[in-house]
């Protein structure tokens, strides 16, 4: 039996240590997945918490009908989509964290630090991250979800299809269009 499914069944039986193990294993990937999807570092942390709370609360009714990660990423995707819709409704559809937007301020502070080289490297890295995140946010939601699951989470087309509730050819098409759009963006 899949190790994750076994942990979920243990959790269902009331073993909270199993939940801790799932948190340890998937905490970081889920935070990063949500971050790439939503573009907000701070909110990604809260949304990841909500994802695991949903997992915990769903444990009593859990049945091992699908791969655990498929189910987990589906929950994270739905939470992220709801979040993006709320943000859109509030008139702030795709904004990066202020930490990025007001880059100068933070980075200047770091540069003024004793370790100038490290500060510059950090600043460059953060700028690069911002650029990549902006490129991802320029994609439509479904293309972004598909490419993030492929590149960062290294999921197969079949698994991405299961997470997103679409067909495998649809996933292939979404990833293709996302790569083409990003290719054009990088060229510019």
């Amino acid at each position: 039996m899949d190790e994750d499914i076994k942990l979920m069944l243990d959790l269902k039986a009331g073993n909270n240590t199993a939940f801790n193990l799932l948190l340890e294993k998937y905490g970081k990937p889920i935070i990063n997945y949500i971050y790439r999807f939503t573009g907000s570092k701070e909110d990604a942390k809260d949304l990841a918490q909500d994802t695991f709370i949903k997992v915990y609360n769903a444990a009593p009714n859990y049945t091992a009908s699908a791969k655990f990660t498929t189910w987990l990423y589906r929950i994270a995707s739905n939470i992220s989509i709801d979040y993006l819709r709320r943000r859109k409704a509030s008139g702030n559809p795709t904004s990066l964290d202020e930490e990025f937007e007001t880059g100068d301020g933070k980075f200047k502070e770091q540069i003024a630090d004793k370790n100038i080289r490290n500060a510059l490297e950090t600043a460059e890295k953060a700028e690069k991250d911002m650029e990549i995140q902006k490129a991802l946010l320029s994609l439509p939601e479904n293309q972004r979800a598909a490419i993030v699951l492929k590149i960062y989470e290294e999921k197969s087309y079949a698994e991405i299809a299961a997470v997103m509730g679409v067909s495998v050819p649809a996933v292939e098409s979404l990833i293709f269009r996302a790569r083409q759009a990003l290719k054009d963006r990088i060229k510019r």
């Binding site: 801790n20 948190l23 340890e24 905490g27 970081k28 935070i31 990063n32 971050y35 790439r36 570092k41 990604a44 942390k45 990841a48 918490q49 695991f52 709370i53 915990y56 609360n57 890295k125 953060a126 690069k128 991250d129 990549i132 995140q133 490129a135 991802l136 490419i147 492929k150 590149i151 960062y152 197969s156 087309y157 292939e172 990833i175 293709f176 790569r179 990003l182 290719k183 990088i186």
Partner: protein, 176 residues
């Protein structure tokens, strides 16, 4: 496979989504076809570009925050369940009991009204009646015990209005 066919499979090849027997053929074609090589390198460039992104780590107390939120939710759910344990029928029964008590005792309240001379006695009756009514809901046993007291006060009130009054309940002796 023809060039166009292979070109359409470059991305699937990169993603490890082509059948193993086609892999060598596609790899050889890419190596020998400048156009397909360019497409392969462009798509690989996108992947490399994206993979340059840094990662974020879970915040301190990530697990603790989740556990805290779960406990808060549990408490909230417990409070809600307590409310659910009080069935609507119990609320309705209390209401019916209260309304019945009011109906039974209300004639005594009005009967207690009278002239100035009997005002004190009437107030006494009203007070006893209201006590009876409240007791009927919250302490039915005490209500039963107060029953005789109501009659006594009623008679006192009638006698205060008219000393020659003969109470129909036969309790006129109370007024004397």
């Amino acid at each position: 496979m023809k060039h166009e066919e292979i070109k359409g499979k470059i991305m699937a090849f990169m993603d490890g989504e082509v059948k193993s027997d086609l892999k060598d053929e596609i790899a050889q074609h890419i190596a020998s076809c400048p156009q397909c090589l360019e497409e392969f390198e462009a798509l690989s460039g996108v992947d490399s570009y994206l993979k340059n992104a840094g990662e974020i780590s879970p915040p301190a107390y990530f697990r603790e925050n989740i556990v805290r939120k779960l406990n808060e939710n549990k408490e909230r759910r417990f409070e809600f369940n307590i409310l659910k344990l009080i069935p609507a029928s119990a609320v309705l029964a209390v209401f019916v009991l209260f309304a019945s008590a009011l109906m039974i005792v209300s004639p005594y309240i009005y009967a207690g009204d009278g002239q100035d001379a009997s005002k004190q006695a009437a107030d006494s009756v009203k007070s006893a009646v209201i006590t009876c009514m409240t007791s009927s809901v919250f302490a039915p046993a005490a209500y039963a015990a107060l029953c005789g007291k109501c009659s006594e006060n009623m008679c006192k009130s009638c006698m205060a209005k008219d000393p020659n009054h003969i109470c129909q309940c036969g309790g006129h002796k109370h007024g004397k």
